[in-house]
Amino acid sequence: MADLLRTPLFELHRELGARMAPFAGFELPLHYASGILAEHRFCRESAALFDVSHMGQIRLRGPDAEAALERLVPTDLRGLAVGRSRYTVLTHERGGILDDLIVGRDPDGLFLVVNAARRGFDLAHLRTHLEPGARVEELAERALLALQGPKAAEVLGRLVPQAIRLVFMEAGWFDLEGMRLRISRTGYTGEDGFEISLPAEQAVGFARRLLAHPEVRPAGLGARDTLRLEAGLCLYGHDIDEDTSPVEAGLAWVISRRRREAGDFPGASVILAQLRDGPPRRLVGLLVEDRQPVREGAALYQPGAGPVGRVTSGAFGPTVGRPIALALVAAAHSAPGTRLEAEVRGRRVALVVTPLPFVPHRYVRARPGENR
């Protein structure tokens, strides 16, 4: 794995007994000694710490960075308050998705977190379309940790008491003994939790302080994938890509009303037509009736009839207790309750279209004492 990049936590992963695997050009922990199932369950029950330093952190500055970035995404960013974040997608002229990302508004500009496999592309795309009006700066010297699970707030609050005032999709900058942390109440597990951006050289020390709490254990990419799949969250390059529109992907909610009315984003003609007439395909959740896992790429059929789509992500869902999948299927076969079959090694496996998420999200949307 000589050509793979390493995150600032590489040596810590090895010390913690991680089984390493290549992912998006990085050598990252697939799981630690306890294994994917235990890490998954610990995240749902307590708190898990993930190293997500491979993700791209990008700062966008300039007098009108929000309006500039709006040219590339269908989401209202001008209406984004300082301290708030939104999930959005970079679209292209044919209506497909170039990447999905979180955009947060900091006091001094926008803070973007993009997929590791797309960071190079995204940086070039942003620079081509937004410079020189806005300045695009990759924050390559910062690590990113995700602390996820029902005990995440309790543990983080012991170190950074003010951070637990944040609610879901809020972020802020916090000082911890001279360290500048950007903490965002976001994640990729469906659980409450935080993503913490911090200087690379301080990442190991901070990770150790979190891991010193018995409520926190490390978790790898394997559990990250099963957690996000149960939460019904898309993985770029699998469930969404350049040939998938946000409407097909069930992400129509990222298209803000003002932007729909203006139709001023890349691919608007295709995307707005799909909103009006319905998309040809839809991304759906599938629950396998038996125990046979159904993997990415498996062809899907209407029982006794022709092909209707394909699986885009599939794994055993540890909390669901059954194999689950995301799949792109012809819109006519996408209603919850529809029975389909997947072909696995020449045999048919029965599945049923199931509303997403498979496991309810447990985001914290109200501050303590507030009703929302």
Binding site: L30, G35, I36, G222, R291, P293, R295, A315, F316, P318
Partner: protein, 124 residues
């Protein structure tokens, strides 16, 4: 009673003309949490080296090959409900299937426990 091992990390326990097959401790460790095992039909004739079972971990599916030729005379039905037995006791309760061996001398080409240990050391 002899146990032999393959380079694909199967074990076979030969007793007379029957051989019980499973995957090794090393194999289960590499696969991680096992969530499904697809076993061959009883009665199926298999050739040495033929893919006859599939073991699925949370992340991926891997094939299991017949260490010897023969006819499948039993499969471990417990694995349908408890695939985790393969992680917990891979070389005991987590066995996969049993063969009526076509030619017990085929086992002579496989590794014994010491040779398999030495083989594992070369993989580290």
């Amino acid at each position: 009673m002899t146990v032999r091992y393959t380079e694909e990390h199967e074990w076979i326990l030969a007793e007379g003309t029957t051989g019980t097959v499973g995957i090794t401790h090393h194999a289960q460790q590499q696969l991680g949490d096992i969530v499904y095992v697809e076993l061959p039909e009883v009665g199926r004739r298999v050739a040495k080296g033929e893919a006859v079972a599939v073991v699925e971990s949370v992340k991926a599916a891997s094939e299991v090959y017949a260490p010897a030729s023969g006819r499948v005379i039993a499969v471990n039905g417990e694995l349908a409900e408890h695939p985790e037995l393969v992680n917990r006791d891979p070389e005991g309760a987590g066995w996969f299937f049993r063969l009526e061996l076509a030619d017990p001398s085929e086992l002579e080409g496989l590794m014994d426990a010491d040779a398999y240990r030495a083989f594992l050391a070369t993989l580290a």
